[in-house]
Structures are given as structure tokens and as C-alpha cells.
Symmetry: D2
Subunit: 138 residues, 4 copies
């Protein structure tokens, strides 16, 4: 993608924990939601994509850095940008912002996920599908 995909999300009660902010692992789930929305926007059928019947694209690495806490009701924007790493793998970079901070661009959090395409029966690496390549290069 030449420009970032942007996803809007309100922080939900379920995202939070007893420290009253978003539970750290849910920060990555927010990013994954943005990834799903980006795939759908590109025309990829989420139901068959995530069932992974012939090939699957599991996450082999994820990392996240938090700069500010997120509270229930906060409205955030997630921008993401995928990059091809090899014929079999890609990574996605994510930046999270509060809606009102978008102009100043001070991120709440930044994250990365790395994905490798595998044959579901052998669990060996295989090439990314044409639709995924199209989504990455778009």
C-alpha cells in the first residue's frame, strides 16, 4: 500500500482491565482488527481467509510499545502499512493515535506483526497468494 490504511475504533469496557486502561495484549488485538478491516477493504473474504483451509498466514512475531494509556470511551485511529519481507512473508507496522491528536501525530502506541504463509497440511512455508500480494503492493 502506497499510503496507510486507517481504522477508527472506540475503546470498549471489555478492552480494559482493573488498572482502568486497555489491557496490554488487547493493544495488539486492536491492531489485528485494523489488519482485518484493511484486508476486507481490499476485497479479501475474511471468513475463508481466517479459516485457513488450504493455506494460513499465522503471526510469527508481534511487538508493541506503549506511550500513553487508553481508557474506556477513548476514540482512537490506527494506521497500518504492510511490507513484503520475502515471497512467503510480510510485516505490518501500526501506529495508534487519539482522534484529537491526529494533527500533532503523537502516537499512543506503535506495533509490528510478522506473518508467514504456510501450507496448512504440511505446516511448511509457501508463497503468499496473489490477493495478499495485491493487498501489500496496492
Amino acid at each position: 500500500m502506497n499510503k496507510s490504511f486507517v481504522y477508527d475504533r472506540t475503546i470498549r469496557f471489555q478492552d480494559t482491565d482493573a488498572a482502568r486502561v486497555v489491557y496490554f495484549a488487547n493493544g495488539l488485538s486492536l491492531c489485528h482488527e485494523a489488519y482485518e478491516a484493511s484486508l476486507a477493504a481490499s476485497g479479501i473474504d475474511l471468513k475463508s481467509f481466517f479459516r485457513g483451509e488450504a493455506i494460513a498466514v499465522p503471526i510469527i512475531h508481534a511487538s508493541i510499545d506503549f506511550f500513553k494509556p487508553m481508557f474506556c470511551g477513548d476514540r482512537i485511529t490506527i494506521s497500518l502499512k504492510p511490507t513484503l519481507l520475502s515471497p512467503e512473508s510480510f510485516q505490518i507496522e501500526y501506529e495508534l493515535f487519539f482522534d484529537q491528536d491526529e494533527v500533532e501525530k503523537k502516537a499512543i502506541a506503535k506495533a509490528i506483526t510478522k506473518h508467514t504463509c504456510i501450507d496448512i497440511n504440511t505446516r511448511k512455508r509457501c508463497n503468499l497468494s496473489q490477493e495478499l500480494l495485491k493487498w501489500i503492493e496496492h
Copy 2:
């Protein structure tokens, strides 16, 4: 509310389990999201409402019936309607539909939650706030 509040949602990968459909308890979480959206639409500040610093409105009962499975990528609509039960409590009825089924109105699932207002320090029942009464009666 004289007419139902309506909330649109796409089923996310995180909502599903190894049976490839929405994990049963997440069906209730989807309903709670609709409840939060309805409160926000009524002008209630979610951050302070769900922190529950002076009073809190915990769920004392929840039930759900499933008629059809929901898969990742499915687009659903949740309609909800709150009813006052006593000066201290209310219930919400939810109906979930697939977007394309809205005309036929065959529900995917139906749920109920019951909520009681408590003083956070004593944990004893107290009257619902004016903003909640307004939300219920609107």
C-alpha cells in the same frame, strides 16, 4: 427508549474460537458493546460511567440464546431496548441479526442483561442517575 437503538459490528477473528464461530461468552460482549454505543449516543461519558467512582451499575444477570452461528467477517446488527425495573435497576433486551436478514428479521441470537445501581463504597443499592433514567425513557 421508544424505539430500539441499533449498532453495527463486523465479527472479528478475536471473537471466534477453534469451532470457527463466535465463542459463546463473546456473544454477550457484542451486546455490551451495543449498550456502550447506546449510552454514548445519549451523551453519557463512557470513561467516567464505567470507572464507577461514586456509583456503579454492575450486571447482576445475563442470558443469551443462540439460533445461528456467527463467523469471522460476518456483518451483524444488534438492536437493544432498555426497560426500567425499579428505581434502582433496569434490563436490556438485545436482538442480533445478519445485515442481509434485517428485512426478514430472523434473529441470530437474543440476550438480556439486568443492571443494578450501587454505591461503590457501601456496595448497597441506590437510585439510578438522572442521565440513566433519561437514556432509558428516551
Copy 3:
């Protein structure tokens, strides 16, 4: 089962929400964990059971009543008892207690789940497997 199955659990940070107690829908997830532990104790292989490759046993109804809040670090005990409803379905009753309250038997919460056996291809009802009948009647 002639006597209840008992499952011990510590409330985790992830189970809680910004009201600092267990998120209501997670109360049902705690019950499902106890159900899984009970199946495993009966010799049922969880991996194949929950993949649902030929038959599946989805939850068609769930309800829960809360009497006391649960906090991170609380040690609880869940007792459960399944009952056959028809050749194709069963229900489970759950009671949750604080460990120290087990003698007095004042429940934190009570829940019910109803499960129906279906053929995964037709999604029509079919008879419960012998291993499930054995688990229910044991």
C-alpha cells in the same frame, strides 16, 4: 455425574475490567473452563472434541446470576453438574464460591449452559456420543 466436579481457579488481571472486578461475560468463560477440565478428567480428548470435525456440541443457551464481585487474585472454586435433557442435548449447572466460603456455601454466582449435539456438515441435531453420555451419567 452423581457428584459435582470441582475446579479451582485464581482470578487473573485479564478477567477484570475498568470497574476492577471480573467482566460479566468472563464469568461464563470461567464456567466453560470448569466444563473443559471436567471433560478432560473424564478422559475426553479436548483437542478433537473442540475442533468439532464430525460432530460439534455448541452452546445454545447460557445464563448467569452474580451475587458478589470477584477481584484479581481471588481464589475461587467452581462446582458443576451436567444433566441429560434429550438424546441430543444436555445442560450444566455451575456454582462459584470463594475458597474460604466453601463451608458456608454462599455462592458468588450461579450459571447454566445448554448444549446441543449437531452434525457439523448438515448443522442438524444428532445423538450425543457415548463418551459424552458416560461423562454426564458418571
Copy 4:
């Protein structure tokens, strides 16, 4: 800790997603459970620790690498080792193994979390408590 803390866990249905393996972000939640168990074993009261009333110890960085998929019913062992980074922060390294692989020590996944102590009112950094230092150095 001079030697690693070890935590045993069975993979639950709720941990999985429609690809039939543990949802990636839940891999980090498993690690956090091990962290909580380690704190409790050291005598730290989880309820007050995670409420974060005066000071809190939020996670500012998390990363995880997956080498093998985890399925519902799998029995795993998580070993963790905390290290002091500064008077105000520490990191924890985690390794996940299948129970049967513990002799061979081929990890399923490896993860890191970094934690910084803050004053909850100012949200500025402050020194780790004595009980946390004791837990790290034990």
C-alpha cells in the same frame, strides 16, 4: 530470581481462534498469567498490586515470537525470569514449552515484557517498591 519461576497451564477453548490455534495476542496473556502467579508465590497481594491505587507498573513494551502452534487441551509450561533495568523498571523473559518437550527444551514461543513503575496521580516514573525488588532479586 536466581532460578526461573515455572507455571503450568492447559490451553483453553477461549484461548483459541478460528484458525484452531491460540490467538496470537493470547500468547502474551498466558505470559502475564505466569507473571501474576510468580508475584503471588513471592507473597505479593495481587488485588492491591493490580488495582494500582498509589503506584502502578504498566507494561511499556511487549514482544513475542512463535515457533509452534498451540491447540486447545495442550498442556504447556511457562518459565519466566525478571531482570532489573533501572531503579524504575524491569523486564521479564518468558519461554513456553509443551509439557512433554521440557527435557528437549524446544520452545513453543519466547516473549519479553518491560514494566515501568509510575506514580498513579502524576503518571511520572518512580522507584520500584521493596517487594518488587525482592521479587526480582530473589
